[in-house]
Symmetry: D3
C-alpha cells in the first residue's frame, strides 16, 4: 500500500476511496454506484471525488448518524428544487438507512414552510417515483 | 368557544392559533415570539399564519419528532442561503429541542456537499452567532 | 358541524377547506383540483393544506384582486425557475381570471430584467404549452 | 442627432437612453437615478444598459401597465430573496405608480405560498424600511 | 438606413440587431438562431432583445474575449441549475469558440465547490448531450 | 510522514492539505488563510476540507488555468447571489492571478444576461469593495 506520494500519483484506490465506496454502498445501495459509473465516460474524477470526499470523508464522520444525514440531505435538495435526480437517490437512501415513507413525506411537508408549496409538491412527486423504485430493488 | 364561523370571522384566537403559539414557545422559546411580534405593525396576518399554519398545523403533526424537524429546517435554510435571520432562529430552536452544537455543525458540513462550500461557511458563521445568543438566554 | 375540536380531529371538511376548494375552482378550474387529487395517494394532508391555507386563507383575502395575485404568482414562479409545472398551472389560472396572453408574455419579458434571459425563455416555453392547454379546456 | 452609427459609437445619449431615463424617473423617482449614479465609477455601461434596455425598451412597452409591472417585479424579487436593495427600490416604485401599502403587503403574503415564509418575512422587513423612506421623499 | 426614430418605430432591423445576429452566429452557430426562431410565435420581441442586447450590446464588447465569456456563462448556468437547455447551448458555444471538452469538464468540477455536487453532476450530464450534438453539426 | 493510515487518523497534515494550503496562498493570498482561520473555532474540519479538497484536489488540477478557474468562480458566485463574502474573496483572487479590474467588471455585465440586473448590480458593488481592499494589501 506504500507511500502517500505514489498513492496520489497513481490510479490505485486510496483509503478514502475504498472507505467512501463502502459507505456509498451502505447508504445508497446499487443506485449510488450507478450514479458514479454514469460519470465515468467524461468526468471520472468527479465520480472519484464524490466517493472520496462526499462518502469517504463527510458521510463517514461520527457526529451525525446516517438517518440524520439523509433527513438533512432530503430537506436541502427538496428546498433547492434544482436536483430532482439526486433527490430521488437520497429518498431511496433514506429508506435504506431506516427512515419510513411517512417520515420522508413529513420532511417534505415541513419544507413547504421554508421553500414554498411548489417545492413540496415537486418533491412529493419525486418521492412517489423513489418509493416505487425502492420496492423493486 | 362557540361555532366555527364566528371563530373564523373574529380576531378571537382559533384553536390552531393557540396550539401553534404553544408549539412555537416549545420550539423557539422567546425568539419565535419576537419574530411574530416584529411583524405585527405592518403584516399581523402573516404572523398569525405562521402561528396557525406553520406551528399549529405542521409542527404539531405526529409523524416526525422536533429534532428531525429542526434538522430538516436547518439543512433547508442553510442550502437556500437566502434566509440568514431564520437560519439563526432555527439553529437556536435546534439547541432548544436537544440537538448538540456538534450535530448542528455536522449538518452544515453535510450541506457543503449539496449546496457548496460558501453556503456551509456562511451557515457556520450564522451558527457561531446563534450558539452565543443561545447561551445568554 | 358543532365544535372546533371535532372539526379538527376528523376528516370532515373545515370551513376553510370548503372556502378554499371553491376559490381553487374559481382560480384554477379543473387543473387545480387535479393537482390536489394527484397528491392524495401519498400526501393527502399537503393537498388539504393547499386548499385550506393557500386558497381558503390567502387567496380569499380581500386586499388584492385575483388578477394581481396571478401576476405576482406567475412572476415569482418564472423568476424562481424551479417550478415549471406550477408555472403552467398559474398561467392557465391567469387566463381564467382575465389576464390576456399578451399581458402574460409581458410579465415574462419583464422578468428577464430581474432573473435573466434563460428564466424568461423557459417561462415563455411553458406559456406556449399552457396557452394551448387552456384552449382545449 | 444624425445617424445611427455615430449615435452608437459616441457617448451621446441614444433615444433609448433618453426615453429610459424619463421612464426611470416616472417609475422610481430619485431613487432610480441614485442607483444608476452609484454604478458610474466602475461600471457606467451597466448603468447605461439599465436605462436603455430595462427602462427604455422593456418598461416603455405598452402591453402591461406600470402597476402590473411593479407587482411582477416586487413578487419576483421577494421570491428570489437575493436582491434586498432592489426589492426596496421597487417597493418604493410600486408606491410611486399607485400601489397601496396594503396591496404590497398582500403581494408578499401571496409570495409566502410559493417561496416560503422566510422570503415573505424578509420582504416584509424590507417593505417596512421602504415605506418609511418613501414618506421622507 | 436613415434616422434613429424611424429605425425604432418600424420592424426594420437596427444596427444593434444586425450586429447581434452576426455575433450570435459566431458564438452559437445554428443553435442560437434556432433558439430565437423558437420564440417568434409568441414572444418575438424577447428574441429581438436577446439579439440586440445580449449579443449586439454585451457579447460585442471588447473587454473580455469570447472564450472567457463562455467560461463565465457555462459556470453561471451550471451553478444556477435552473437552465439546462441554455447550459447545453452555451457548452456547444464554448466548443465553437475554442474551449476543449476537457476545459468544460474542468469548469463543471470547479463549480461543484461553489454550488454542490448535484449541480456539477447534472451539468456533466448536460455536457455529454451537448458534446454529442456538437459532433453532429 | 510514513503510512497512509497514520496520516488519516492523526491531525498531522496530509499531502493534500499541504498542497492545498500552498495553492490557497497562490490564489487568495492572505485573505484565503483568514477565511480558513475564521472557521477554526467551531468547524475546523470544514476549513481542512476546503484546503484539502477545494485547493489540494480541485484547484491543483492541470486542465484549466487559475485565471479561467477564477472567471468561472466569480461568474458562479455572482449569479447565485447568495455568497457576497466569498464573491469578494474571489474577485481579489482574480486580481491576484492576473485578471484586470476591467475583465472582472465585464464578467459581471455578462452575468446580467443570465441572472438579471440585480445580481450584476450587487456583484459590482461587491467588486468596488474588493478592488479597494486589494489595493491595501
Amino acid at each position: 500500500m506504500t507511500t502517500t506520494t505514489s498513492q496520489e500519483n497513481t490510479p490505485k484506490p486510496s483509503n478514502r476511496y475504498t472507505r467512501g465506496l463502502a459507505k456509498l454502498r451502505e447508504v445508497d445501495g446499487r443506485t449510488g454506484e450507478d450514479v458514479l459509473a454514469g460519470l465515468n465516460d467524461i468526468a471520472p474524477d468527479l465520480a472519484r471525488y464524490i466517493a472520496e470526499f462526499a462518502f469517504g470523508d463527510v458521510y463517514s464522520r461520527p457526529g451525525l448518524n446516517l438517518q440524520h444525514r439523509e433527513i438533512a440531505t432530503i430537506a436541502a435538495l427538496a428546498a433547492m428544487g434544482t436536483a430532482t435526480p439526486q433527490l430521488k437517490v437520497h429518498i431511496k437512501a433514506g429508506l435504506n438507512v431506516g427512515l419510513s415513507e411517512e417520515q420522508i413525506i413529513e420532511i417534505l411537508i415541513q419544507i413547504s414552510l421554508y421553500a414554498g408549496f411548489p417545492a413540496a409538491i415537486n418533491a412529493v412527486n419525486a418521492a412517489r417515483d423513489a418509493f416505487a423504485e425502492h420496492k423493486t430493488l
